[in-house]
C-alpha cells in the first residue's frame, strides 16, 4: 500500500523486503552451486594439463588454476607459460 498509493504521491519506490529476499536467494543459490572443493579443482587441473600437453610443451609445475569471482560472474582462470608447440605427428 505504501509503495503503491503513497509511493505515487511522493515519487519514491522503496524496494520491499520480499523483493530483496528473492534477489538475495537467487544469488546465494548460484554461489552455493559454484563452490568447488579443492579435490575437484585438483582433478580438473590434472585433466587440463593432460589435454594441453597433447598440443604444447608446458611447465606443469608453474601452471595455476583458479576460480575468480566478481560481483555477478565467476570465471575459471588458467595461467601457464608455453614452452613450445608440439609438432603435429601424422
Amino acid at each position: 500500500m505504501k509503495n503503491g498509493f503513497f509511493g505515487k504521491f511522493f515519487g519514491k519506490t522503496k524496494e520491499s523486503s520480499r523483493d530483496i529476499a528473492k534477489k538475495r536467494l537467487q544469488f546465494a543459490l548460484i554461489y552455493d552451486k559454484l563452490e568447488v572443493s579443492d579435490e575437484i579443482l585438483e582433478a580438473l587441473q590434472k585433466d587440463i594439463v593432460d589435454v594441453i600437453s597433447k598440443y604444447f610443451e608446458i611447465d606443469k609445475n608453474s601452471l595455476k588454476l583458479d576460480i575468480k569471482r566478481q560481483d555477478d560472474l565467476s570465471a575459471l582462470e588458467l595461467n601457464t607459460p608455453i614452452l613450445s608447440a608440439k609438432r603435429k605427428s601424422k
Binding site: 500500500m1 509503495n3 503503491g4 498509493f5 505515487k8 520491499s16 528473492k22 546465494a28 543459490l29
Partner: protein, 276 residues
C-alpha cells in the same frame, strides 16, 4: 495392518518428508498427511526417523503407548506388528516411533532398506519423517524412498536449505515435490514475505500444496490431535487436499492464499487509477 502373508508382494509406496532446515513443520506435515491419507481409506505407517530427538509421537498424541521403536525394528528386535502403534482415532493409521536413547548413527542405509521393504508389504503408504540436516539421519530416511516431499517456509534460510536438499534428492534420482508452509498472506501483500510463487521460482520444482500460517496447528499439537480433523482450519483443509493429490487425484486444484485482500486506501487508489 493386514495379518495375511503377502510374500514378496510390495504394495506400499514410501514417501519421505524432508526440508533440510529444522522447525519448518516437517513433523506436523507428516502427522497431518498421515491422518489425512488414512482418513481417505488407505493404510498408513508414519515413521519417525529423528532418532534421539523423537517428536512425531507427541504431535500425534501417542507418546504413552510406545514399547518398541524403529531401531528395534531395524535391528530385528521386534516385528512390524509390535513396533507399529495403532491410532485408535483414525482407522488404518500407525506410528513407528523413533528411539529416544540411541543416536542417528545407530542405523545405516542397509538397516533402513530392510525396514522400508518390510513396511511396504504391510501398508499402502509409508511416510518417513526425516530429521533436519544432511547427515546420516537424512541418508537413512531417503533410502528406499519412492517419492519425496520438501517442506519449506517463505524464509531465506529455509529456501536455501530446501535447495540443497532438492539437489541431494535429484542426485538419488528422486524428483521431489514442494509444500510451502506457514504463508501469511497479509505479509506477502505488504511486501514483507516471499510469496509461494517466489519460492517456487527460486526452487523450480513442482508444487503439491500451500499451507497458510494457522494458529490452530499449535493448538492441535498441544492436545495431540490432528489438524485435519478440524474441518474449519485452513491448514487442515490444505493438508487434506495435499493428501488427495498424493493419492493421485489430479482434479484437486492447489488453492492459492488470498493475496488480493487490499486495504481501503489501496482500493480507493486503484479506483482513482493511481495504482500501477
Amino acid at each position: 495392518m493386514s495379518t495375511q502373508k503377502r510374500g514378496a508382494d510390495l504394495k506400499g509406496k514410501v514417501i519421505v518428508i524432508t526440508s533440510g532446515k529444522g522447525g519448518v513443520g516437517k513433523t506436523t506435515t507428516t502427522a497431518s498427511l498421515g491422518a489425512a491419507i488414512a482418513s481417505l481409506g488407505k493404510t498408513v505407517a508414519v515413521v519417525d526417523m529423528d532418532i534421539g530427538l523423537r517428536n512425531l509421537d507427541v504431535v500425534m498424541g501417542l507418546e504413552n503407548r510406545i514399547v518398541y521403536n524403529v531401531v528395534d525394528l531395524a535391528l530385528g528386535r521386534c516385528q512390524v506388528k509390535q513396533a507399529a502403534i495403532r491410532d485408535r482415532r483414525i482407522k488404518g493409521l500407525y506410528l513407528i516411533p523413533a528411539s529416544q536413547s540411541d543416536n542417528k548413527n545407530s542405523l545405516n542405509t542397509d538397516d533402513m532398506a530392510r525396514v522400508t521393504k518390510k513396511l511396504k508389504q504391510e501398508f499402502d503408504y509409508i511416510l518417513i519423517d526425516c530429521p533436519a540436516g544432511i547427515e546420516q539421519g537424512f541418508e537413512n530416511s531417503v533410502t528406499g524412498a519412492d517419492e519425496a516431499v520438501v517442506v519449506c517456509t517463505p524464509e531465506v534460510s529455509a529456501v536455501r536449505d530446501a535447495d540443497r536438499i532438492i539437489g541431494l534428492l535429484y542426485a538419488r534420482s528422486i524428483t521431489p515435490k514442494l509444500i510451502v508452509n506457514r504463508i501469511v498472506p497479509q505479509m506477502v501483500i505488504n511486501g514483507d514475505m516471499l510469496s509461494h510463487k517466489d519460492v517456487e521460482d527460486v526452487l523450480s520444482i513442482e508444487l503439491i500444496g500451500l499451507v497458510e500460517m494457522d494458529d490452530r496447528v499449535i493448538a492441535a499439537t498441544n492436545t495431540g490431535s490432528y489438524i485435519t480433523n478440524d474441518k474449519t482450519s485452513k491448514a487442515g483443509q490444505a493438508y487434506t487436499r495435499i493428501a488427495q493429490r498424493m493419492l493421485g487425484d489430479k482434479t484437486i486444484p492447489i488453492k492459492e492464499p488470498d493475496y488480493d485482500q487490499k486495504g481501503i486506501w489501496s482500493k480507493i487508489g486503484s479506483k482513482l487509477g493511481l495504482k500501477k
